[in-house]
Symmetry: C2
Subunit: 321 residues, 2 copies
């Protein structure tokens, strides 16, 4: 939640001269996004978001993310569309940072999603999976099951200081998930970070998906499992089955799950919870001095794991045959 | 530069229901303003700024600020216009904070003003002074000469740790300014904080003035002296006489200065520099742990004072008879 890089009016005006989007009317740094610096940008041609990529985003990955957004937008998905400059290039440089202008999406992030909003999310998620099916690039998921063991071992010694018994609980989950992780599920482009703050609504209508900077090639059902974690629990770990049922039904209305995906849903949900627990735990234990960003609470996902451990089948998440 | 208060979509939707400005399309926290939390707000009726007042603004002062903005906007000044709700009230409450919606102004703040932009600023400043002449409220300037001694004494012991000899330099300036501070100059509503980030331009055209939260009743020429400090120096203390001349000429094209104001300009400029040196010094020495805001460098004003000490008359700032 910060502007890491200041951009002067002179630097921005010079940058915009390479684009065919009119002249500058106003720009404001947005207190959103923990990885990058974002500006709301208004020109005589319209409204945009200007993003400067800070060091946590690998420059090598940017073509994947930008081409993907362009591909999905072309397929009709409501997502930010990178704006190409007069030379036909979307990725520029501003104040020494890789920088991109994308189209602005109206809409508001919900804090407590309703079942109707979960249903709309499910449909949009399946639409994203379908729209990405003919996207020509691939990017491995570097935060999938192979990454969790090393992440855990880096945080293990300090885990019980965050919550007594946390190390043993994570160790147990990790053993189960590593042993049973499903292979060969239907795969393609997934968003991999579709939390409520990355989905916009106007009323109950889903108006857009943003923040594709964790997108990668992985199992579609794992993306659904991430959404079940992010959308259907309270912070105290309470699962809302009505939201889960609506999310899954909304997804299946566009892309029905195969039997293998349904069977794998419990372990995918448990793995997704572990993934966010572990990255949050590492961030929690490594807050730099003077940090502008408050780390997110890893224990929210410890509480969700309590639910996942007791699950006996996809029906517990609201799936119905 | 921070969002101090998070506002949920539900809280904002409920707040907006009292207003006649359409329904919510989007809102983003703006990384601007060190005192308050600001959101860019877009509804079906238009574009606005939503401000939540944090504890550094005294709630008792809000009616002065809001009525002043409304008065000035009604007189045609390009400044944020507070939006009244259906009950006719501009000042509301959101998330436990006093909150106001104001109209959005297009424009960009310049970092290195040109003489033409200084001339435009001078005209707008005189226009503000004229537009405020029939405003019915008054607010004493609680950061004028009487406040500087106490501010200095609170920081005196630590001043030389910030810059060797600073305490003695400030002590000397304070003695001169306190002894010679002019009384009885033409007075009225002044902005009192018209730094470059509070003035918007589209190209060389001044499009708006914002941030009236230091506005008060004081000498008009003191407001001009603040602008000479804020607009006509580089950070290293270099004075740009061409900018000063343009600023003063732009002001006098709308409201000519009296002989008493011209004579007082040097001490007013020295006092204005002292005011910002002292408040910045106090902030510098009192950065709270975990602060989201980087304090501004007090020594910029120490360097400006070096210039002011050598001034022999208003001509040194670019005034011409």
């Amino acid at each position: 939640m910060a502007v890491y890089t200041e951009v002067s009016d002179e630097a921005l005006t010079a940058f915009l001269a390479a684009y065919d989007i009119g002249t500058l009317l106003s720009y404001k740094g947005i207190a959103e996004g923990v990885e990058n610096t974002n500006f709301f940008l208004h020109t005589t041609a319209g409204t945009y978001i200007l993003t400067l990529y800070e060091k946590r985003v690998r420059a090598d990955d940017l073509p994947f993310f930008l081409n993907l957004m362009e591909h999905l937008a072309t397929r009709g998905l409501a997502c930010p569309q990178p704006i190409r400059n007069r030379a036909g290039v979307a990725l520029g440089e501003l104040c020494g940072r890789p920088a991109v202008i994308v189209s602005f999406l109206e809409g508001v992030s919900v804090k407590r999603p309703t079942p109707d909003q979960c249903r709309a999310l499910g449909g949009a998620l399946a639409g994203l999976h379908a729209a990405g099916s003919d996207f020509g690039m691939r990017r491995d998921n570097n935060l999938s099951v192979e990454a969790w063991g090393p992440l855990f071992r880096g945080a293990e010694a300090q885990a019980d200081g965050v919550s007594p018994g946390l190390a043993a609980r994570v160790c147990g989950d990790l053993a189960v998930v590593e042993a049973g992780w499903p292979r060969g599920l239907p795969s393609g482009v997934i968003h991999a970070d579709l939390f409520t703050d990355n989905v916009f609504f106007i009323g109950d209508d889903l108006s857009g998906l943003i923040d594709f900077y964790f997108a990668c090639t992985d199992a579609f059902a794992y993306d659904l499992a991430i959404c079940l974690n992010a959308w259907c629990f309270d912070a105290d770990g309470t699962f809302h089955r009505d939201r889960g049922a609506a999310l899954i039904a909304g997804y299946e209305a566009v892309r029905p799950l195969g039997a293998d995906e349904v069977a794998a849903l419990p372990i995918l949900c448990r793995g997704a919870a572990l993934r966010f627990l572990l990255t949050r735990l590492v961030d929690w234990l490594n807050v730099p001095p003077g940090a502008l960003v408050q780390p997110k609470d890893p224990l929210e996902y410890d509480r969700r794991l309590t639910f996942h451990r007791g699950v006996t089948g996809a029906g517990d998440y609201g799936w119905v045959e």
